[in-house]
Amino acid sequence: MTRRNRQPGFKRNRNPVTWLLRHAQMSLSSLGRLTRSPISTLMTAAVIGIALALPSGLHLLVDNVRELSSSWDGTASVSLFLNEAVSDEQAATVREQIGLRSDVAETRLIPRAQALEEFRHLSGFGEAVELLDHNPLPAVVVVRPGDGIQGAEAVGRLAQQLQDYREIDLAQVDLQWVERLGAITRTIERGVLVLAALLAGAVLLIVGNTIRLEIQNRHSEIEIVKLVGGTDAFIRRPFLYEGIWYGLLGAAIGMALVLGSLYLLDGPVRRLAGLYESGFELSLVDPASLLGVVLGGPMLGLVGAWLAVGRHLARIQPE
């Protein structure tokens, strides 16, 4: 081993057990320090909590919407508008033929008369229809794709194949709005990511500023610790742990906020789903994003504290 300055070295404590023990003590004493001023600690943690809750709550919402649209996506149907010249009997034959296909699960025929009847009832243009001298509506075969046909693309391909039947004028996938919803969801998702990045930056600033004030308050203590031989790591440590605790507390508050909002939303969502005869339920937080918040909070706290400590500790030198 070569020593750069040929003079006696210093004894350094490198025992991992003592090192771990000191860290454990330090983390607890940092927590103790925080609990001694509970109100200001809680306020800081609450701000962090809200900053963490916003993106994770939105993420959860987007997740739910996506799940909702995927469950509708699965039951997407194709409406086959038959040629006006096709009689009701021919229409029934067409329906049978299509029903035999392996990629079709179920078919339903809406004859022209029934279509007119439905239109009269549902559209509100009943009286206008009375004025027409003949039924302008085509017969429709509604096709539910087989289980093998999943997703907008596959359903679209099926529709295209069905379009080739001579009797069929138009095969329309009743999926457009689901696709649009999907596109909206993806846009919002991207927005949530941007928001999450911004709020993560906000958490860094909050923790950094809190730690900066703490360093100022403990200016003389830091000076004295430096005088009696405290290393920079030793002085840094309590502040870093404080950052971690702030992050952890913030994460807990954030989770509580998200779960609380879910609880508040659950009833109305059930009622709404009931009105649409859907069994949809708000899903709870998935473990991955839970882990994200629980780990992300302390990580942000640590980084925020590190930034503050790095900037301000070096400036404090004993005189």
Binding site: N5, Q7, F10, N13, T18, V225, G229, T231, P318
Partner: protein, 224 residues
Amino acid sequence: MIRFDNVAKRYPNGHEGLAGVDLHLAPGEMAFLTGHSGAGKSTLLKLIGLLERASRGQVWVNGRNLNKLKSRDIPYHRREVGMIFQDYRLLHDRTVFDNIALPLVVAGMGHAETKRRVRAALDKVGLLKKEKVYPITLSGGEQQRVGIARALVSKPPVLLADEPTGNLDPELSREIMELFVQFNQVGVTLLVATHDVDLVNRLGKRMIQLRQGRVSGDQTRDQR
């Protein structure tokens, strides 16, 4: 133990703290540093404790050339140099015990050993019954004793004191100085800056006089 070779210190504002000092203190020696304020006493002590670095020349402490110590070694160097200040520099939100334990906590000493050492230090300065009180409730002399106990608790080979009796009356000052003499008897190297020449003369130790950043006089007892 402490050696200065032609050491100068010029501060960034142009003030010259030391203008060229040669000095040697043998292990176990005790010396007083005297001179008017501004003569460079504090600067000299700061260079030994590495609160400042020399602009020129070499400072040796405990066999190490301080010029060659890296910043990350400074804390370890300070553990070998106990420092005592005129304003005591105690932590007022901690008990006497915790104040004195600080150097040991910083060095990662175990709890039982820390307790034993702090008690021993308290005993030496005669404050054994005050370990649980806060420094603010103590008199100036007692606070300075806490400061002294903190400086010696880690048994450093070198003790520095900068005007340790500056805020104390003559009676307390004499007690504090006698304490230093006792420590010196067990082998600690001591360098005490003070302007109280009368007191120093009575103690009969080596006296180094500074004037305008230079050594203007250096007498041991026999020379006086």
